[in-house]
């Protein structure tokens, strides 16, 4: 068992291709990437560039055609509780109440009823769903379902949280509110986060490190530290977005997305 706080993520020479109608279609090309514990890594890129493939390889939903994906030194061999996944569409279970959905992870791991009730309460409170715990997921709005899904993943206390465009299907207002809530959760819990998005602004605003992927086959073409989400400094979102450094990084990211041959 590796130490909880030493779960470094490593992609080494990872390539992946899908087989479509007998032909190999490349999806990822030579990914070498290390994510340090506690980083909030955002990965931006045009749709269809292989961002989701990269996340699913790390989640263990599929195996890379070439190369290795390792967490804390151990090769990924399938999904695991130390890697929580927040899907683009909330995958909540309609036969369970909101609270039972959040309790599911601890329950599967055999945590006592008392302890998991406490954990669930804490995270339901954190995402602002404490008053909706008895509802069924389909009785909630899309934004609330997504918050419930985030609470469910966090309540399982994974070291690494993988988020696949979790706010992509939400309206702009809900999206902005969830972004700042997520930042607060990250500051409070110190989890490693890999966050996939096709929005340049979202990537720069949220990430402590911003990656850009080229169109298919995906390669990482830009890797920049970002400081806007970092530290205990609470600057209003509007002011952050007006900073010249912020605008400059956005421009750089946008440039990298539109120029497929850009060099890191």
């Amino acid at each position: 068992m590796t130490d909880r706080h030493d779960r470094r993520v490593e992609f080494r020479g990872v390539r992946h291709h899908f087989t479509v109608g007998g032909a190999a279609v490349p999806a990822l090309d030579r990914i070498d990437l290390t994510i340090e514990p506690g980083e909030f890594v955002t990965l931006a890129g045009p749709s269809g560039c292989g961002k989701t493939t990269l996340l699913r390889l790390l989640a263990g939903f599929m195996t890379a055609s070439e190369g290795t994906v390792a967490v804390g030194g151990d090769a990924v061999r399938g999904p695991g509780e130390e890697r929580g996944v927040v899907f683009q569409q909330p995958t909540l279970y309609p036969w369970l109440s909101v609270r039972r959905n959040v309790e599911l992870g601890p329950k599967l791991r055999g945590v006592s009823a008392h302890d998991r009730a406490e954990t669930a309460s804490r995270y339901l409170e954190m995402v602002g769903l404490a008053d909706f715990e008895k509802h069924r997921p389909y009785e909630l709005s899309g934004g609330m379902q997504q918050r419930c899904q985030i609470a469910r993943v966090l309540a399982n206390e994974p070291d690494i949280v993988l988020m696949d465009e979790p706010f992509g299907a939400l309206d702009a207002l809900t999206r902005e509110r969830l972004q700042s809530e997520l930042l607060e959760i990250w500051r409070a819990t110190g989890r490693t986060i890999l966050f996939i998005t096709h929005s340049v602004d979202e990537a720069v605003f949220l990430g402590s490190r911003v990656l850009v992927m080229s169109p298919r086959p995906g390669r990482i073409v830009l890797d920049r530290p970002a400081v806007f989400s970092d530290g205990g400094v609470r600057v209003p979102a509007d002011e952050i977005r007006a900073l010249p450094e912020y605008v400059a990084l956005c421009d750089e990211v946008r440039g990298a997305i539109h120029a497929p041959t850009a060099v890191a």
Partner: protein, 296 residues
């Protein structure tokens, strides 16, 4: 706490509007009354047509007895009565049992047959839906499903005797393929990401099955049980052709052989009503067990 109440409030989507519930209920009740009136008048029209045709003596009572005769046969079958007009010998119902006892006997067979089909069909469907066994066994399941029960009741009697065992086996064999098939299609319909999500929460293979695949398949399984129960009703007459007393299917068959047309019709009506009531019961069970159907 109060603060969190206020914050997410505008986001609640499908809650009922404040003025709603009572108006809604009243409207629903009015709708239900209308529907009831429609059914009642249709039934009345049918009965009067039946009565009119027989009263005009357009058909012989042997083929179609008037509604009154059917009612008399129904009452006779539920009471002690003289064996024939003017006789002193009093008999109990028909064939020594009241009609409702015949019905109960058939219901018991259906309950055991369908119950066994549920116990066997759901696990079999789960295994077939999740492993290679599905590919191997599916043709046999389809073969069994396509056989008319009358074709193999003779074989079952040879194997299990003329008593209740062969009848319950027949009902079981009729009821379990639809349940297994429905379970398989339920399992195949589970969204891959729902499985991925629970695996990422640390679920073992077994937990994936019990925590996600089975509950996600319940809507399909319940539909399968309803289909199977309906199928068991249609099979019950075949099951009770030989030595089927007590049993409402057996009584219908016997009465037909003895040209007691009124009693046959009484049996048919009772079977039909019992089947509809049972299906309504299962349907309301569906509402309790899978309230999310069609919503998620």
């Amino acid at each position: 706490m109060t603060q969190t109440v206020a914050a997410p409030a505008p986001e609640v989507a499908p809650s009922t509007p404040a003025a709603g519930p009572q108006d809604h209920r009243r409207e629903r009740r009015r709708h239900r009354l209308k529907l009831l009136a429609l059914h009642a008048s249709t039934l009345l029209l049918l009965l009067s047509a039946w009565w009119f045709v027989t009263a005009m003596e357009w058909v012989s009572p042997l083929y179609l007895p008037p509604p009154g005769d059917v009612w008399d046969a129904f009452v006779r079958a539920n009471t002690d009565h003289p064996v024939a007009a003017g006789s002193d010998r009093i008999v109990r119902g028909e064939q020594g049992y009241y009609l409702w006892e015949h019905l109960i006997a058939s219901l018991q067979r259906i309950a055991i047959g369908v119950g066994a089909a549920i116990v066997v069909g759901i696990p079999l469907g789960l295994v077939m839906g999740t492993t290679w066994l599905g590919v191997v066994l599916e043709p046999y399941l389809n073969f069994l499903r396509s056989l008319p029960p009358l074709a193999y009741i003779g074989l079952l009697i040879v194997w299990f005797g003329i008593g209740d065992t062969s009848k319950v086996w027949l009902l079981f064999l009729a009821a379990f393929p639809p349940i297994a098939m429905a379970t398989i299609s339920g399992v195949h319909g589970v969204r891959q990401d729902q499985v991925n999500a629970v695996r990422s929460l640390g679920a073992s293979r077994r937990q994936v099955l019990t925590a996600v695949v089975l509950p996600a398949s319940t809507p399909d399984i319940l539909t399968g049980i309803r289909v199977a129960t309906g199928f068991a009703w249609t099979t019950v007459v075949a099951a009770e052709i030989a030595n089927g007393i007590p049993g409402i299917g057996g009584l219908a068959y016997l009465a037909g052989n003895q040209l007691q047309t009124a009693l046959v019709i009484a049996c048919i009506v009772v079977i039909g009503i019992a089947a509809i009531l049972l299906d309504l019961g299962l349907k309301s069970l569906e509402k309790v067990l899978v309230p999310w159907r069609g919503k998620a």
